[in-house]
Every structure is written in structure tokens, then in C-alpha cells.
Amino acid sequence: MREYLLGNVAIAKGFMEAGIGLAAGYPGTPSSEIIETLADLRGDLPLHVEWSVNEKVALEVAAGASWTDVRAAATMKHVGLNVAADPFMTLAYLGIGAGLVVVCADDPFCHSSQNEQDSRRYSEFASVPCLDPADPKEAKDMAVYGFELSEKFNIPVMLRPTTRVSHARADVEPGVARPCGGRRQFTKSPGQRVALPVHARPLHTELTKKRSAIEEELQSAPWNRLELKGESGIIAAGISGLYAEEAIQDLDLEDMSLLRIGTYPVPSRMISQLLEHVSRVMVVEELEPVVEEQVERLARKVNPAVEILGKDGSIPREGELDFLTVRNAVARLLGRSEKPALRVAAAEKILPPRPPALCPGCSHRATYYAMRKAFGKKAVYPSDIGCYTMAVGMGTVDTCLCMGSGITLASGIRFGGETEGICCSLGDSTFLHGGMTGLLNAAYNKARITVTILDNSTTAMTGHQPHPGTGVTATGESTVQVSLEALAKALGAGLVKTVDPYDLDKAIEGFQKAKEFPGLSVVIARQPCVIKARRSGAGRKSFAVGEDCAGCRVCVDFGCPAIEFEGEKARINALCTGCGVCAKICPSAVIQEVRK
């Protein structure tokens, strides 16, 4: 029976159908639901599902399982592949045991990311084949096929959904989950497992040969479809194929030739056939001109006269595509009229912006308030990737580059000669993902900085996944709960202070001590994420603003969505979680706890 499935759930179901034995990932939008779904679906099957400490770890764990002859997958968002790039590049040389699929979910338009890099470039870079699904059904089918392709050519395979596939839903017919097979034994084979130069050189030659064989194999993959019709043609990759098909139907173009591409290496024979048939072709793909470059290369051989449009200005190279953008590009190609993107003037003029913000009662807001009280306006505040990046308006987020970079940027800023106070911040999950090496480096190289770990005991931004500091695994089993304090000390911090951000005065005092410390100091600001606390039914107090409110706006400027300003006075609304921090910052002490 068909089900209405989220793309990521469809991928997880595909993995179950393929008899996967291990899945490892690090949370990252839009990839996170794959591991979560597998953790739910595994039941009694012999399937290991884990949240790894970071993406590099996840890929290496998956590779190890693959070398133990069970099908394995690693999941991550596009920027996670940067972290995992080291094993990714060399795994292509060494090859696999049982099938290995790397899911790398791209995020054109940066819906929830710091950049919109195109992972298809990585596939080309590493000589790893890539499957580019257009919708949840294709994503599921490709999840199964990925293992077959991987095993046939002894190479990892990349599955690259985008946000509009991972977070799309469609009616999909799920198949039957299959228990994992395989010998479950590591086979020693130094020539394929030890990347010494003497092994790597012949493996590189082999990889180049594989590349041609894989290209040949993918020529006839079902996701590459050619329809030769008139003298104008469209080549569209991944989800762009759906935009192109919708444009063709919308414009009633019965004569348009169309090649849809879902694999890399691209199907060069189909491209050549199309190029020989048409006089002009438009290449429709999101982000980089990956297909277009191949089309240009092939056109030189088979039809140099063909006109090729694409990233020449016809199709944007930034952001995500949609039906209307593609429709209008096709209409321009044919000299038909474009549909202007409708704009509603009133909406632009009168609507208040509604940016995502820290939740009511979020402890990060209190931590940043205390930090700024202690360190002052002139201090430098490198920050990192997580919910807390949204506090950019509080003046305590001066940088956001990549996971873990807060600490290392802070070190560089100090060594670069900055003399003001430097207090960087990053979340607990981010610290464990990519901050520990930076802290060790700061200690070793004697950086006088303060590192703040915003410890809300979860990976909040991506949907509250557990991590080694939580004492729980991806499948809900209890495990060792790593102490951030002990870690920070072991990595060489001279001073480690733990504060409760809701206990504002003591938190300010803690930051003050860290500021005065003549070396590397760490402040751990610990308070559970308010969303998790609410879900676990934690009882909270109620607060209200008294009659004598002076209207000074100190609490309002604190920025908590639970505090409103109405008729020259502050008011606490129903969103209040009872953290009580506003009561502590009110200069007239008129915010007080009330009985519910």
C-alpha cells in the first residue's frame, strides 16, 4: 500500500529494503531524519544505528562495517562532507567490502545552512559515482540501487538528495525490509586496505579505469531518460527534471526534446544523441554547471554548432530553482511570454519581519547576557553553528564559519594581535563534533581566550538528537555520559567553571573569573533546552510584570518572545516558560513570580 512519505523516510526505507547492517551519521538539516527513521525501524533486525560524533567519524565507522562485509551507510548534510572529505577521497581508492552509500543532503538556498555548495563536485573530485534523486520515490529506489552499484564496482556511492527531496513528501510504495546478510568478518587485504604510497599508486590507476566502467554502467540507468522530439531540447538534472517536465506541460510544448539525468558520471551517449538531434539546448540544473560542462565537452565532439544555454544567465547559479524560474527560462528560449513573479506591495510595506529567534526562556539568551555583562562591548565574540547563532542581534556572535571554528578563530584573533577580551561560544554537540581539537590547540599554543560551551544537553537546532554528553544513544539505549568539565580539563584548559545561566548573578561572576584568568578558561553554561524541558514535563514557575513598571524596556530589549511592550509598559505573555531571568534584570524589580 502506498504511503505519504518524507524523502528522508523513503531513503531510510530503501536502506531497510537493501538489508543494511550499519548506519552512522551526524545530524544536519536536511539529512537528520534518515538516522532517526532507521533507529525507529530497526526493531529486532541486526542493524547498528548510531549518531556519530561527527561526519568524518560516521563515514569511517560505515567504512569499517562495509569492510566487515555488511552493507553500510553514512548520512550527513553537504557541509558535513567537508568534514568527512578526508576518508571520502581515499575510500574511493581503497574500495569497499559490502556496499557503502554516503548520503550527502544538499541545501540550495541555504534554508538551514552556512553555504550552498554543490556536492556533485565532490563526486567528480573523488571519482565516486553520484545518484541525484528528483523526488522521494527515486530517493528510495536509488538508496537500494546505490548498494548494488557500490558492490558491482567496489566503490562507495554518493546519494545526493536536496532539501526539496529530503523534506518533500510523496506517495511512495514501500517494499519489504530485508535482514542484513554478509559474513560479518574483516578480511585482511593490505593491498586494498592500507593506503601506503606503494598501494595507492596502482589503486589510483584502477580507480580511473573504474570511472569509465561506471560511466558505461550508468548510461542505461532508469533515472536517465531521453525523449527525442523537436529541434529544441532541455537537459535537466535531479529535481530540475520535474520543473522542466512541469514547464513543458504548462506551456503545452509537444515538440520539446528532453533528457532527464539522475546519475554522475552523466550518460554521455544520451547527451550526444540529443546534441546530434537538436540545434539548441538548455541545461537546467541547480547550483554548479556540472552537467553543462559535460554537455559543452561532448558538443565539441558531436555538434559544435549547437547552441548551449544554461549558466550563461538563462538559469541562475545561486539559490534553488523552482517551476516558475524554469518555465520562464524555457519561455524566453522559445520567444514566448514570461509569467512575472507576483509581488504583493502591501506585504512588503506593512508586514513586520518574523525571523527565526531563540525560544522563549532559551538559556542561551541568558548566557549571552551574562557574557556581555562581564566582557563588555569591546570584547570579541567568535561564535559557531547552532541555535545560538540566531543571537547575532545580542552582540555576542561576531563570527560563524563552520562547526568548531569559534575556538580556533578566537585563538587566531588573539595571536593576530587583538588585545581586547575574547570570549567565544559553541554548543555542547558542536564542541564534541569539532571543538575539542580547537580547545586542545588553544591550550597547547597558549591562547588567552575564554571558551563558552552552551550546554543544553542536546543537539537542538536539528531536532534534539542525543550526543556523547547526554548518556543516550541514537536508539535510546543508555551509555557513558561524557563529562564536559573533565574533557575541558584534559584538553588543557587552565580554568573550568560551570554556571547555571538562569542564576544570572553567579553566571556573570563566573564569566568575570574567566575573563580575569591569565590563560585558557572554559565556562560551561548548563541548562536543558527549553523545548526538551517542556516535553519532559518539567514544572515551571509563572512570572508577571507589576503595576509599577517604569517602561524602561530593559526586559523588552532582552529579546525574549514572552515579553511584550504594550501601552508604555512591559507584559509577560503566555509563551513564558518561567526561567525568571527577566525578573533578575528588571531594574525596578517589578517582575515577580506569581502563583499559577
Binding site: 502506498r2 504511503e3 505519504y4 518524507l6 538539516t29 536536511p30 534554508h111 538551514s112 523526488d135 526539496r164 523534506h167 518533500a168 513528501r169 510523496a170 506517495d171 529535481i239 520535474l242 520543473y243 517536465e245 512541469e246 506541460q249 504548462d250 503545452d252 523552482d322 517551476f323 516558475l324 518555465r327 509569467k339 513573479a341 507576483l342 509581488r343 504583493v344 506591495a345 502591501a346 506585504a347 506593512i350 508586514l351 513586520p352 519581519p353 518574523r354 525571523p355 527565526p356 529567534a357 531563540l358 525560544c359 541555535c387 540566531m390 537546532m461 536539528t462 531536532g463 524596556r553 523588552v556 530589549d557 529579546g559 518572545p561 515579553i563 511584550e564 511592550f565 505573555n573
Partner: protein, 195 residues
């Protein structure tokens, strides 16, 4: 040629239950044997920000409704109705919950929340019909303010090519049993409100 039987855009604020409505519609479409596509907002955009969800019944193309093509705009919050009004087709209908959720830019006094008529008037100019309703108050009547989204689903039910029985069957799949009765009541009240 038309590329979708019915294009719906559901908007609101993170936490209002936008995804639940589209999940019910999607499941109901599948039960009705119709192809269906949807696109959701996850991640950063959910933290109190604007949320938009696309649902396309009887469609085999991309999951996103095109600007100017929505048959129905279902707005769980009035300002969000206007923010996403450009999705409406001139032939479309806007169903709008009139209870505002003030964004932090308004609560902190940095921006002003427009009067209801300032929101509804431009909406009336760009589509066939605007149906304002206080779904939040109706949900309270049904027994739980949390069911506001289901009040709106009830209001939507007469505007989409899916039968009420199938929608209610799909609703029963996604709502916890102990809240089902209140949600069924919310659905019925929402439907009655627009009839």
C-alpha cells in the same frame, strides 16, 4: 495544460501545526488513490519563524506550488497570510485565522503589527474570496486551543477534492487517541464556520 488538480499553500508560525495539516491531506490523498506531493519547512525556519508548506493533490511534478497558482491559501496566522499572498491564484481562496501571533520584532517594539483590515484588503484584491475566521476561538470551543490547525483543516475540507470521511480517517491516524474527539469536533466546527 493544468499540472495539478489542487494546489494548497499552508502557512503559519513554527509550532502552530502546519505540518500536521498537510500530513492529513497527503494521507487522505493517498487513500483516495491520487498522486500527491508536498514540501515542508524544517530546521532553522521553525524557531518561531514563518513556516510555509506546499501540498499538491493530483500532481506528479515538483513538490512546490508556483507563485500565483495556489487554489487555496490556508493561513493559520493573519500576517503570514499576507506574507505568502503572492502564491494565490486570481481564482484562489484564502482561509485566514484572524488571531495574530506577534513576532519578536513587534513585541520588542521594533515593528508594528498591522490592523486586520490592512491585511485582508490587499488579500481581497488578488484572489476570488477571502474567508476570515477566528479559528483560535473556535478551537477553544472545541475543547483545546491546540486544535486550531484542525479547525482550519475543517474549513479547508470543502475546498479540496477529498471526501470528508477520508480526511477524518487520515486525521485519526495522526492525532493521539485521547485528543481525537476534541479534534473531530474542531474539524466539524471549522467546516460549519465556512458553510
Amino acid at each position: 495544460m493544468k499540472t495539478s488538480e489542487c494546489d494548497i499553500v499552508i502557512v503559519g508560525v513554527g509550532g502552530q501545526g502546519v505540518i500536521l495539516i498537510s500530513d492529513v491531506i497527503g494521507r487522505a490523498a493517498v487513500k483516495s488513490g491520487k498522486p500527491v506531493r508536498g514540501a515542508e519547512t524544517h530546521g532553522m525556519a521553525q524557531r518561531g519563524g514563518s513556516v510555509i508548506n506546499h501540498t499538491r493533490i493530483g500532481c506528479r511534478f515538483s513538490p512546490m506550488v508556483a507563485v500565483g497558482r495556489a487554489d487555496v491559501l490556508l493561513a493559520l496566522e493573519p500576517a503570514e497570510a499576507l506574507r505568502f499572498a503572492h502564491f494565490l491564484s486570481p481564482e484562489g481562496v484564502a482561509l485566514v485565522n484572524t488571531t495574530p501571533v506577534l513576532p519578536v520584532t513587534v513585541t520588542t517594539g521594533k515593528a508594528r503589527y498591522p490592523a486586520m483590515e490592512e491585511i485582508l484588503a490587499p488579500l481581497r484584491n488578488i484572489c476570488k474570496a477571502v474567508v476570515p475566521m477566528d479559528a483560535t476561538a473556535i478551537a477553544k470551543q472545541a475543547g483545546t486551543v491546540q486544535a486550531m490547525n484542525v479547525v482550519m483543516l475543517g474549513a479547508l475540507s470543502g475546498h479540496i477534492p477529498l471526501s470528508e470521511d477520508i480526511l477524518l480517517a487520515a486525521l485519526a491516524e495522526v492525532v493521539p487517541p485521547r485528543y481525537l474527539e476534541a479534534n473531530q469536533k474542531a474539524f466539524a466546527l471549522g467546516k460549519a464556520e465556512v458553510e
